[in-house]
Symmetry: C2
Subunit: 347 residues, 2 copies
DNA sequence: GCGTCCAGCACGCACAGCACC
DNA sequence: TGGTGCTGTGCGTGCTGGACG
């Protein structure tokens, strides 16, 4: 019998223990937690004192069985891609987990069972009571998840805008505004030929950012002719940036739709003997951890991740509680972080 | 009444439904899932067929209430530090979540309630049945978590070695071997003066990596005199690298104990007009996503994250099941990823 | 007695409805 | 009466002990 009882630290404290110690019934203790306004103030104070004295914590299993809720938020982590800059998962996750705890929720991360059956995984998570609602990120062009969840009435929120047809609760960064800030910054430095390197048209995020560039250029009376669209990888961006630098009247600055593409632009510039941050100004988007580390340190548009996380959790929790949303679609204004990759145009 | 019943997609399928459909008792269905060897083969086949036909999934809440287990693995995400390179959280989390699902576990990420009361958070997670065991990373010098968990008999595993006193189940990267590979690589290029930039002594990881450098240098008949120890941030590393480059007979290569410190070395070199990857070779450790992006692309020691994650989950699941561990402490051999920051010494 | 399978109970909680002042 | 607090019940499982052949 030498083995320690690993799974049983000590007997759990239950509602009944608290009730006995406080001299009230189970239900009164339950109400003290879930419906405090049903108790007389002095009873409430007394029960609460006993609760904290005994260190009582409601059991999730039992509560979940009774209420049919897990108080768990599901988040399917996107698979890492070596040719894309690491996402800002670190800070985002931290912020989300923090906000969730504030609402007495927890965050469950999971991966799809198979590439094809991602939706099945969401179904399983729901059926087994492993999540009450979901947090979505990296919404793709024809993403099936929002519509699927919407049809089933499953609460979810998205970091990334949604078409009204498939969902109403989302938070996103105002890409147009972010890129416009980059244009303002560059014109302030004296640039007139500012190119844009974006994603293929039809991508919501990409179109948003490209639109911001176009209108900001127009606002400054500049021509928005120099642009290339390509997929969001370093290597593809380098090829696209090459085409921009091949233009007869070469741009003096490039705004990229992501940090990955900005790094690709660095490569293209160096390949023809141009020094980014001296001969060519470059602006990125996302402020990934790498942005501050590359040489020259990258000027980039930073997403307000903490605010986004807080809002997303707030919205999801409201949906889970069946409450109406105060704000359904929130566009956050990003900040331009100026580093060393943007300087006055040469000459 | 127009509002849809958001929380109730449709009535759940329970053990009883399956039992009725299969013409057996609840318990037999339960056994088909948890103790298949108690059933006659034909009964088992039949029941299993009905289970998959109805798409039955055991309810986590009920199961958790009965078994006193959540089938949840807790992971406290370390707070992001802007002056340190983003951790490799992305890939690690993905791998862990993947491995956990294979064992019918899920991963709950959480943050400490307060900086001081991290242990309280672990206690709460346990008490509320929000985790059965924990995954630890970033073990600090005098980390209180392993001992605390150990004393309470809480199952946990650590990514990062543990002193036998506070825990026996861990997986770690063989830092000494990784650094030795870096030394071999550099001597192969013709370097003789290879400095080491590490963490203050007493840090297990740091000592491990420093030891690898010392013994590899000795094996090559080289002097292991050039070393600096400092904290793991870019700025501190830059100052320490400065001191190395101030040495009368300047090293031609620097091996840093982390990618952050390698980037700090880049800065220090450039400040005195030395080009890393030409005048000075630099090797990092960790292969963070930024390593491939900095200029020159950083040669670095890569952690086998997938293997680590798989092993960690395997060990934790075994501990949770009360089974003996096949392997308690596993040292994984890292791989040197050669990029552009290491070249033959100048001259 | 052995191999299968089944009925009753308890896990800890929250809801409905009743009792009290 | 209305504000408070209490008792009975069931959520879906898995364990214990018993029944059947």
């Amino acid at each position: 019998m030498g083995g320690a009882a690993v799974t049983r630290p000590d007997r759990r404290i239950t509602l009944i223990d608290v009730a006995r110690a406080a001299g009230v019934s189970r239900q009164t203790v339950s109400n003290a937690i879930n419906a405090p306004d049903l108790l007389r103030p002095d009873t409430l104070t007394h029960v609460r004192a006993v609760i904290s004295r005994l260190g009582y914590q409601p059991d999730r299993g039992a509560r979940s069985l009774r209420t049919r809720q897990s108080r768990l938020i599901g988040y399917c982590v996107p698979p890492p891609d070596p040719d894309r800059l690491g996402w800002v998962l670190d800070e985002f996750l931290h912020s989300v987990a923090d906000a969730a705890r504030g609402a007495d929720y927890h965050l469950v991360v999971f991966t799809p069972e198979s590439a094809s059956g991602e939706l099945d995984t969401y179904a399983t998570m729901l059926q087994t009571g492993c999540a009450d609602g979901f947090l979505l990120t990296d919404i793709a062009r024809h993403d099936r998840r929002p519509g699927w969840l919407q049809r089933r009435g499953v609460p979810f929120v998205s970091y990334g805008r949604l078409s009204p047809r498939v969902g109403k609760a989302w938070v996103d960064v105002d890409g147009a505004s972010g890129v416009a800030k980059a244009v303002d910054h560059l014109t302030g430095l004296g640039h007139r030929r500012i190119a844009f390197l974006g994603w293929p048209e039809g991508h919501r995020l990409g179109d948003d950012r490209a639109g911001g560039w176009r209108s900001a250029m127009a606002a400054h009376g500049l021509d928005a002719g120099d642009r290339e669209y390509t997929e969001d990888t370093i290597s593809a961006a380098a090829r696209a940036a090459d085409r921009l630098l091949d233009l007869p009247d070469r741009p003096t600055a490039v705004i990229a739709a992501s940090d990955s593409m900005a790094v690709g632009t660095y490569h293209a510039a160096r390949n023809r003997g141009l020094a980014p941050g001296r001969d060519l100004s470059v602006v990125g988007f996302d402020d990934t951890p790498s942005a501050a580390l590359v040489t020259p340190a990258l000027t980039t548009v930073s997403q307000p991740l903490r605010d986004a996380a807080r809002l997303l959790v707030e919205m999801l929790v409201a949906r889970l509680a069946g409450e109406p949303l105060k704000r359904r679609a929130v566009l956050l204004d990003p900040v331009l972080v100026v580093r060393d990759s943007t300087v006055s145009p040469p000459g």
